[in-house]
């Protein structure tokens, strides 16, 4: 059973300037307990994908269509917003990028975690006491437990802190505690460490990974930073301009990237012991989401682009072992590199 199964997800944003095609039919499958990373430049539709999975995109401004949207085997495609409220936070939770803006600035962080327990009726006392006061007490007890779990010392004290009084790493830990609060099947982490220093980044990722392994939670990690992905993810989806251009296990992608875009992404990270003298960079920038190029979206930036790439979009070709790639010339490129 898959923790998440998305088939043919499409999201558009109609604007005055034209229709923004943010996500153009992507499929994602995440096995229970595994971590899948969605990697791509900013603006490629990663975050929109995550919000669409949570059904947090509203109409307007977005229009979402999807063939299949299943969480842990249950279909959530047809759920109304009311029904979704019971799912969000409990079965699927989200960690946002910037913890400072993602936390309500005028509310104590502990109270903000309490809300989850209260909303999902998880704080009904074990001894059968269900009064309002008891529920709140129980929620607080659980919140402090959750805060301790993510490595926050003095959890009782931090419970009463306001977001601006905490450090960046601490805030991100609060968000993680919030996400794991109800022990959900799936956690979507949208660039969880981008706003942090590298050292803090590592700590926060450790906490995240640790909890994920311990609880056997599935994780959908959204990032532009391949170096994070290496240690965290089991599977990688590379996204470009709203389409998936390559999919494979972490090992496969890092050892043997097939799509020129993936190669470019890998070429721009530094590794210890790397002999390369300079970084390979992808020229130019992401095309406008309203006027995407014809043919393969990547062809204007691709050094291997041929005539066919300019007119026809390549299919997402399935290779052995679940590997997929969307490129006309991947075989030639591979052979050329080896030969």
């Amino acid at each position: 059973m898959n923790a998440l199964e998305v088939k043919n997800l499409k999201v558009i944003f109609p604007t005055e300037m034209g229709i923004v095609r943010a996500v153009e039919g992507i499929d994602i499958e995440i096995e229970q307990g595994k971590c899948a990373a969605i990697v791509g430049e900013s603006g490629c539709g990663k975050s929109v994908t995550s919000l669409a999975v949570m059904k947090l995109l509203s109409t307007p401004p977005a229009i979402v269509r999807v063939d299949k949207l299943e969480l842990g085997g249950t279909d959530i495609k047809g759920l109304t917003d009311k029904q979704m409220q019971k799912v969000r936070g409990k079965d699927v939770a989200m960690i946002f990028q910037d913890a400072l803006t993602a936390l309500n600035p005028v509310m104590q962080v502990g109270k903000q975690i309490d809300e989850i327990f209260l909303a999902h009726n998880l704080s009904d006392g074990e001894n059968g006491k269900t009064g309002r006061v008891n529920r709140k007490k129980e929620a607080k007890r659980r919140t402090i437990e959750a805060l301790k779990l993510v490595g926050i010392s003095d959890a009782e004290l931090r419970y009463k802190a306001y977001p601006h009084q905490l450090s960046g790493g601490m805030r991100q830990r609060v968000l993680i505690a919030m996400a794991f609060a109800c022990n959900p099947n799936l956690i979507i982490a949208d660039e969880p460490t981008t706003a942090l220093d590298v050292t803090i980044q590592a700590q926060v990722l450790d906490v995240l990974k640790d909890l994920q392994r311990k609880r056997n939670t599935s994780l959908m990690l959204i990032t532009h930073d391949l170096s994070i992905v290496m240690n965290m993810a089991d599977e990688i989806y590379v996204m470009y301009c709203g389409k998936i251009v390559e999919r494979g296990t972490t090992r496969e992608i890092f050892k043997d990237p097939l799509h020129p875009y993936t190669m470019g992404l890998l070429g721009s990270i530094a590794r210890i012991g790397d002999a390369k003298s300079r970084f390979v960079q992808i020229p130019s920038s992401l095309p406008s989401p309203i006027h995407k190029p014809s043919g393969c979206y990547f062809h204007p930036r691709c050094q291997y682009a041929g005539e066919r790439c300019k007119t026809e979009m390549p299919p997402l070709e399935k290779l052995e072992g679940g590997r997929c790639v969307r490129c006309w010339n991947y075989k030639e490129i591979k052979n050329g590199k080896n030969g």
Binding site: L51, M54, L56, D81, Q85, K86, V87, R88, G89, K90, A93, M94, F96, D98, T101, A102, L103, N104, P105, V106, M107, Q112, E115, I116, A119, H120, Y162, H164, Q165, L175, M178
Partner: protein, 333 residues
């Protein structure tokens, strides 16, 4: 909130108050060499200049206008510290503080009811407009706000008193003067006040409602685009929880500031309206004092208004720092 902030803030308030008193004392005296001159009797024939000087001096002493301007200023300040605002030049020489005490409640009747009605209805309408963002309800509010801001309250008041007061005779166009004189807290008296206050409050409330609605709308829209609202939704909170617990809670912060500003202008805000409806409030009192060159009364009213505004600002800051933990009392100014 640190104690040092509070002390700093209070000291600053006192300093501003002293400056305000000084301004209120000197501005009315700009370019007036002898403010008491209008009270001098004509020099009758057969009166020597010395005698006349003596009479003038007596009048100056009577009105507290003897000595140099600076001397008067020192005297005034000294009196003020003992809580004495001086004596009005009106017939019967009432104490300034009594004049204010007499008129203040009537102004408050108008302005407090105006403020509360504006606040409540404005927030309701503004929230609704934010909800229906971009639809006709929202556009209606936007147009109404430009139109009512362009319509001065006194013009609305004139139109209201013309139609509702004179033509259709639904509400009194002029205030019943017996109302203030014979007020005795009976149900009868209270209903008379409400009946008389209807038109002035109506005239003031239109602009107030629209202005609160507009700022509530903008604030709610700005807040509902914030990330933490998304977090709240991702937590699975119900819509009501999201709106009341997070959106409105944060959107009310600028409204508190606006409310505080309106409170600080509570007493001086209805001068023209009071004039139109012949309402015996602070505005009318001030206009009378101004036309009589009644210095103690003028200064007293202005100082009282300023003190009220200062206290209101202090309270607003205090309330704000309670509502927004990011702000400490001394910081927000």
């Amino acid at each position: 909130m640190k104690a040092s902030y509070v002390i700093k803030r209070i000291l600053l308030t006192i300093f501003i108050f002293l400056v305000v008193i000084t301004l209120c004392f000197f501005i009315p005296r700009i370019g007036v060499s002898d403010p008491a001159s209008r009270y001098y009797p004509a020099q009758t024939a057969g009166m020597s200049d010395e005698e006349y000087e003596y009479i003038k001096e007596q009048i100056r002493i009577q009105y507290g206008l003897n000595g140099s301007t600076f001397q008067q200023y020192i005297n005034y300040m000294a009196d003020l510290f003992t809580g004495d605002l001086g004596t009005s030049y009106q017939t019967g020489s009432p104490k300034v503080i009594d004049c204010i005490a007499e008129c203040l409640p009537w102004t408050l009747v108008l302005s407090v009811s105006n403020l509360l009605i504006s606040l409540v209805i404005g927030i309701l309408i503004g929230t609704m407009a934010a909800w229906k963002r971009g639809r006709w309800q929202d556009k209606l509010l936007l147009n109404a706000s430009t139109i009512t801001t362009a319509l001065p309250a006194f013009f609305i008041a004139l139109i209201l008193s013309f139609y509702l007061g004179f033509e259709w005779e639904i509400f009194p166009a002029y205030t019943d003067q017996n109302m203030t004189a014979n007020f005795d807290w009976s149900w009868q008296a209270i209903s008379t006040v409400m009946y008389n206050a209807a038109l002035p409050v109506f005239a003031m409330v239109i602009g107030g409602i629209v202005s609160y609605a507009q700022s509530t709308r903008n604030s709610v829209i700005a807040v509902s685009g914030d990330d933490f609202i998304l977090t709240a939704k991702a937590k699975g909170l119900s819509n009501n929880k999201v709106i009341y617990g997070h959106t409105l809670r944060n959107a009310m912060l600028p409204i508190v500031t606006q409310f505080g500003m309106n409170v600080s202008g509570l007493i001086g805000g209805s001068v023209v309206i009071e004039q139109i409806f012949n309402w015996n409030g602070m505005g009318t009192l001030f206009l009378t004092a101004n036309s009589n060159n009644d210095y103690p009364l003028m200064m007293g009213i202005m100082i009282f208004m300023s003190a009220f505004a200062l206290v209101a600002n202090l309270l607003t800051d205090f309330v704000y720092s309670l509502l927004d933990p990011r702000v400490t009392l001394g910081e927000r100014r």
